[in-house]
Symmetry: C2
Subunit: 123 residues, 2 copies
């Protein structure tokens, strides 16, 4: 099961150009970094390995001419991470689009659930 | 690069219950079966192996108490496939939600593209 399939509802992926996309996983990592100041902590609360979290961040940092996440090794031993203005913009915009989407399709989602046969217990 | 990331814009995944989701790939397979009457042909036009197309169809057929795709071996040697009323409902509803989403987030997408630094040529 994909990580993003654990709760019901809509999942949005925004493709900005071929190969450059932001979806629920990258958005959650950005939000985690904003809230915890750490890539490791952001990954941990998603049940993700440090390596996987780093790989996502490294991918995001090649999307634009400016990085989305910056890391610093000063201050304390394990360093820290924060969003750049570009990272903030992308995350805020993604959350806004998620909310617009859920509002737009809410009625149709309810209609579809009602119209469908029972969801099988085999899943 | 994920298959769904080849063209720009929004990709929608609808999670009906944990583990039961429909996204662009499954929707395209359903549409292909509706149009070609064949799982193999539907997969081929997506550049997907027959095995992969069958795996997606088999997964979809366990979602509900009724299948979404039915196959028949009568009539001609290679048999054929078609959508059940449940398959038709899910596909139509998914396409409708896609269209509602694109309409809802269009302005924000344009705003985001304008606000971002250049998309890197490294991707």
């Amino acid at each position: 099961m994909k990580a993003g399939n654990k709760t019901t509802g809509a999942r949005l992926r925004i493709v900005l150009k071929p190969g450059v996309a932001i979806g629920p996983g990258k958005a959650d990592i950005l939000a985690g970094i904003r809230e915890t100041g750490s890539i490791a902590a952001a990954g941990r609360r998603m049940g993700m390995s440090y390596k996987r979290a780093w790989t996502l961040v490294e991918a995001m940092n090649t999307f634009f001419d400016e990085p989305m996440v910056e890391t610093s090794r000063g201050g304390n031993a394990r360093g820290g991470a924060s969003l750049t203005p570009t990272g903030e913009k992308v995350l805020d915009s993604y959350r806004h689009m998620e909310s617009l989407t859920n509002k737009a399709i809410g009625k149709e989602m309810t209609k579809l659930r009602t119209a469908l046969p029972n969801i099988s217990n085999r899943k």
